[in-house]
Symmetry: C2
Subunit: 191 residues, 2 copies
């Protein structure tokens, strides 16, 4: 708020004429930024799964550039035209893949949550090198764990921290898509 106000050569109080609080500001800014997600070029090729992963990766990339936004997007979703467009595109692709309607509704939420959380996690770590300390501590703890008491941990070891962020993100999307295809919602029909 204060930084934006300064940029606009005014006091922070003036912003509250246009916006109710920081969450609302973040949601509005994110919706604007979502213009960078090119939904048109999605039809560039590949099946619906690949197209889905492409849109979601593009969404993640936008958030990745703005760690603070990613963190608040987890709690305060935008509701502007770009976000609606994104939802529509994702729902269309899921329908194309034969996912039942109700399940697709919950599915987009899971997919976007995964994308947002991953962006918040990685972007924050990149921006604040201090945050890297915590996972370094975890790596050390796993390496130092006793094979007697923690056999699985000892067996897997560094495997837990392997792979690039890109690869893990794409794998996660595919896990979710496959899972959504195979998992009925609780209750009878799952229309």
């Amino acid at each position: 708020m204060r930084r934006l106000a300064q940029e606009l050569d005014t006091g922070p109080a003036s912003l509250y004429v246009y916006v109710r609080n920081t969450a609302e500001l973040h949601a509005a800014v994110l919706d604007e930024l979502l213009g960078e997600v090119d939904l048109g070029s999605i039809r560039g090729g590949g099946d619906w799964r690949q197209q889905l992963v492409r849109v979601l990766s593009s969404y993640t990339a936008v958030l990745f550039e703005h760690p603070g936004l990613a963190r608040s997007a987890l709690v305060a979703r935008p509701s502007g035209p770009r976000y609606l467009e994104l939802l529509e595109a994702l729902l269309a692709l899921l329908a194309q893949g034969g996912v039942p309607d109700g399940r697709a509704a919950w599915g987009v939420d899971a997919l976007l949550q995964f994308a947002t959380a991953t962006a918040a996690e990685q972007a924050t770590r990149d921006a604040a090198p201090d945050a890297q300390d915590e996972i370094d501590a975890l790596v050390a703890a796993v390496r130092g764990s006793c094979a007697q008491t923690h056999p699985r941990l000892a067996a897997l070891g560094d495997e837990l921290f392997s792979g690039t962020g890109q690869d893990r993100l794409a794998w996660g999307f595919h896990v979710l898509i496959n899972g959504i295809l195979q998992t009925a919602r609780p209750g009878a029909t799952d229309r």
Copy 2:
């Protein structure tokens, strides 16, 4: 920091003797709290899937009580004994389900991230009623969306916001578990 210092009848500076920053403090507190996740009672019945969902739900419940912790757990993971115990238990259950080692390593991460993100999201919304405004705005925007330009959105409508938090969480766990079972990691063997 300041609140904890006050509780301890000292100044905030004193805490920096024991802890490097807030992230480290949060990670340590969360590890302590993880003692409430009863890994023993997991063997209470059901197959490995149900047991997995039970542990993860218990983990989510702990975070749910502490919104602030949940938010920072997304970025700064604990590395204490309770967290290692939790990882070990989850890995053991995945192995029992026949998930290949390397895939299980990435899988626990996805499962815990989903649990943590869901807790951060819902707990924050519950704690700060202001945050509810944003999803209210989204509900209104979806309802007001035009069926011509956004056919899927119009068709699904309130379905997007249906279900209890509990049901969506459990469904998400099952989606991930099923997805993990069916999705190989990039690269050749996926040992």
